[in-house]
Symmetry: C2
Subunit: 562 residues, 2 copies
């Protein structure tokens, strides 16, 4: 038999690897083995240095968001759809290409002037930890491809669960390493976290019962029949993330059945409205079932937090699954000063928190947590070769199958940052946003559109004169002026983005017609600790200057012409 082996793998003299770019077994082996010689070691380290600092130097010297170059022009460089038969480039050349040809036209999300989206600078150690995860390449779908790493993941999940739910020491001792329960799961991002939470809610509502195998096995139509339900409904404020509608679509309840509830003047779900909607449903459509009510802890557009305790009371009274989408705001729980803003989150049946947002982890990492350690049983799957019942395989209760050990990154980050390190980031964001709101209010030609509760605010440019005239305008004039302002602020955001010095995003806030209808607003997210009010002032200066020069005509709204 050993002969059989020899026949297939004949002993060859070790060849000096060819330096030209051809793929052969020797070059193949070279790329799978990091050779032990000092020179090859030095080369690999040099590459890493290039990535860490070549890229970093670009980012330092291009504080602008991105180089000015049109998307169409750029896209012409990426038109080749053929894969080269032979290798084209060495690693060093690929790295050079990435640094010289890709990075300059990517977006410098780490700039303190990039205050438009929920993507920001990350601490440099995150990159190191991320490299470790790739190098160890564990697959946490099962213990056989991750072993201790699955245990670390369960520990990290328990730590964050405890931050949210503050259950007893005994509770965590029992569940932290249990093969039979799950306190939550790591997922790709907030969308999957919300989807997982609603998936669990759906399966628990339409659970197996006598004569019915449950919605997961039998499907939605059969479930509605078995339970005498006409439709399932999810209620969330109109500021709910679009992933909730998408989850409704994916799960077969229908995205239209994720119903938007109006918000109050503070951009929180309007509790009176919510109760009225529920009362109407109970009266007019008794066969409709409310599958979940979602409270938002940090809306994407305005950063506001719904009244979680009131929502919890309502859900408790009506026995409805209470989900909190804290993808953005969750880490505010780290802050001694501001954790209270999320009061009531500990009463949620499920909670979404993103890792790649205010945990400052690299893309992509989200998490979902459940109050009840058995909740995730509703989505358990097994297979013959993996995820056997009773094993600690994390893939048993998970939307994903194979999955990277991103929990190791958070494991390391929690040790390096401590609760207080994260708290400082949260406090900085909230307090800098408050200062920014003040700066906006002090400028006569700007309007603060939504006051920040966490670290997100919206505003728009509206010349002082126009503001004054609008205060006495007719509803029709107001509507017309607002349409002008919407167009003009859209242009403002685009011009500033294209100038490439700084970046705020824009969105459209729903407003009643009496206030002029939907308003296009500039949206600012303050999460970079290097962003300070001086920078924000510069951003306002740039906007003001744009509005008074290139965009002057766009803002010259003549109410009388309406």
């Amino acid at each position: 038999m050993k002969q059989g082996a020899k026949k297939i793998e004949p002993k060859k003299p070790v060849q000096e690897p060819a330096r030209e770019l051809v793929a052969n077994r020797e070059t193949l082996k070279r790329i799978f083995i990091m050779r032990e010689s000092d020179s090859s070691r030095a080369t690999l380290v040099k590459y890493m240095e290039q990535i860490l600092f070549g890229l970093h130097e670009f980012l330092m010297h291009h504080v602008g968001i991105t180089e000015e170059r049109s998307l169409v022009e750029l896209s012409r460089r990426f038109m080749d759809s053929a894969i080269n038969p032979e290798p084209e480039k060495r690693l060093a050349e690929v790295i050079a290409e990435l640094i010289d040809e890709i990075a300059p036209y990517a977006v410098n999300v780490s700039s303190p002037y990039f205050v438009g989206h929920m993507t920001s600078a990350i601490p440099f150690f995150m990159v190191h930890l991320s490299t470790f995860v790739a190098a160890l390449n564990q697959n946490v779908v099962k213990i056989e491809t991750s072993k201790v790493v699955s245990m670390v993941e369960k520990q990290v999940l328990a730590k964050i669960h405890r931050m949210i739910y503050k259950r007893s020491q005994k509770f965590y001792n029992r569940h932290i390493q249990s093969a039979y329960t799950s306190l939550g799961g790591f997922v790709e991002g907030g969308t999957q976290a919300n989807l997982t939470a609603l998936w669990v809610a759906r399966n628990r509502l339409l659970a197996p019962k006598s004569g019915f195998a449950g919605v997961e096995q039998s499907g939605m139509a059969q479930a509605y029949n078995a339970y005498g339900i006409s439709r399932c409904i999810v209620l969330v404020s109109q500021l709910g993330h679009y992933s909730l509608r998408k989850s409704g679509g994916v799960l077969g309840i229908g995205s239209d059945n994720v119903i938007s509830v109006p918000t109050d003047a503070d951009n929180r779900i309007d509790m009176a409205c919510l109760k009225k909607i529920i009362a109407c449903l109970e009266k007019d459509e008794p066969a409709a079932r409310i599958m979940a009510i979602v409270g938002i802890a940090g809306t994407t557009e305005t950063g506001t937090v719904d009244p979680l305790n009131e929502l919890a009371d309502l859900c408790h009274e009506k026995a409805i699954h209470f989900h909190v989408d804290a993808a953005w705001g969750g880490p505010a729980l780290f802050s001694e000063k501001y954790a209270d803003l999320l009061s009531g989150i500990e009463r949620a049946d499920s909670v979404t928190i993103d890792g790649h947002k205010q945990f400052y982890m690299p893309m992509s990492c989200g998490m979902v947590y459940f109050k009840e350690p058995k909740a995730m049983d509703a989505i358990a799957y097994h297979a013959a070769y993996v995820n056997r019942p009773g094993s600690v395989d994390l893939g048993i209760r998970s939307l994903a199958g194979s999955r990277a050990a991103n929990s190791l990154i958070l494991h390391g980050a929690l040790k390096i940052m401590g609760k207080r390190g994260y708290a400082l980031l949260i406090d900085h964001g909230i307090e800098t946003a408050a200062a920014f709101a003040e700066l906006i209010s002090e400028r006569p030609d700007f309007q603060l559109m939504t006051r920040p509760e966490l670290n997100i605010l919206t505003y728009r440019y509206c010349p002082a004169q126009l503001q004054k005239r609008l205060s006495t305008a007719t509803p029709a004039e107001r509507m017309r002026a607002n349409q002008f302002l919407n167009r003009a602020n859209t242009l403002l955001q685009r011009h500033q983005r294209e100038a490439g010095k700084s970046f705020v995003s824009r969105t459209t806030l729903r407003r009643p017609e009496s206030e002029g209808g939907p308003a296009v607003v500039l949206r600012s997210v303050i999460m970079n600790p290097m962003t300070h009010p001086g920078i924000l002032n510069e951003i306002l200066d740039e906007q003001e200057s744009l509005c008074k020069t290139r965009l002057k005509s766009a803002f010259a709204v003549d109410l009388s012409s309406s």
Copy 2:
């Protein structure tokens, strides 16, 4: 206004950063800025070196799969559920902990002796590329947080699409950078790819029509009413991946409606059976609709490929969505010698391919492709602040929201490897698996249970004497003996895993009772180019030795006692 800024951010003298472990604004800034001094640069590089080589040295000196230490004992170390108030460790200490305390008890998936799962060694450049992705931290949900990187992603998608579908140059010129079409998408893994494919299939089958807004908006129950459908069905061989059942559950069609079709003697879907099932459905349940038929290009358990052309013919005739799950086998298309095994894949409506499998990318990366560039419109979502219609935002047609730019890794890998580099890996896997099958067949006490078509095979230990006696045994004796063998092979796999020198996995193959019923088999996946027949022989030696010593009694099956 500038004064306002100063009030909040008073100018302080630059302090020498404190060296103790406290979180304060100064330490915070330090971790967000990589300082320019040579000494701090050297420190960061040293950390990276530690990760690359500290880890690597461990992996070199522990060729075994994992240290012997019981899971229960290990898990006791990860019982602390509190997050420390202050920082506990510096990055260097965290790295040391990861290398000294985590890695030794993780699984050395890069060992050539680890031939049990679809996770393996990866080329070292993958780690570098992965570091680049983390350091640049783009979010490809939208162009505003990724710009050129979204274009690179579209290019890579077109390259793989072309490898699968071989459409015309004109086709790719038109779609490669189009904002209005999608050739596919990067996802977290094969599960999400299958889910996305079936999501599209569901939405296209139950599309909007006069008086009905479509399943995505209105839900499954309403869709069945609108179309007069009793249930949707997905047909796949019994070797289909469990993610297909899970997708059925998630999508609201019900996991029971993902129906297993028996396989033939070669572990391919039994076409006669499939046609019979369809005929029965058409006759007995005319209101049932077949939503998709799935062909497998590389089953998880046996690595076999379904007759894709025959399935394509059938799907074409019946106008059924044809999905090919090539999560495992897809990259065989790189090989001149073996691409033909996947003949017919170019006729699929959708295809799943995993990046973290035979593209040798780090966890987690999957892909899904669609023949028709408009197919993904069926799952489009928009929001006010992102994914606006007509933008190139990749998040419009995607299960995920925020998402890492893993496409950059594949972009680099394709240049470094070329088609031929990947082909060599594929050829090595297939040919080494064939050699392994020979080695197994040559040993009298082993039985080859499934012959490898790609690079996966299954076998079991069954003493020669018992094999001989089984050939003349009664069905009842065969059943009983098989139960013994199942238990004994389960023990064998566990003992070998716990010894920690090598690793094969195990699964249970369905077999008719006439053949003794379900068979527990050892499963071997050959994807590491460093795995050669000599190593596989050692693994067989170890198994043989275990069976003849510690497991002797387990294999002492006495047929007469039955």
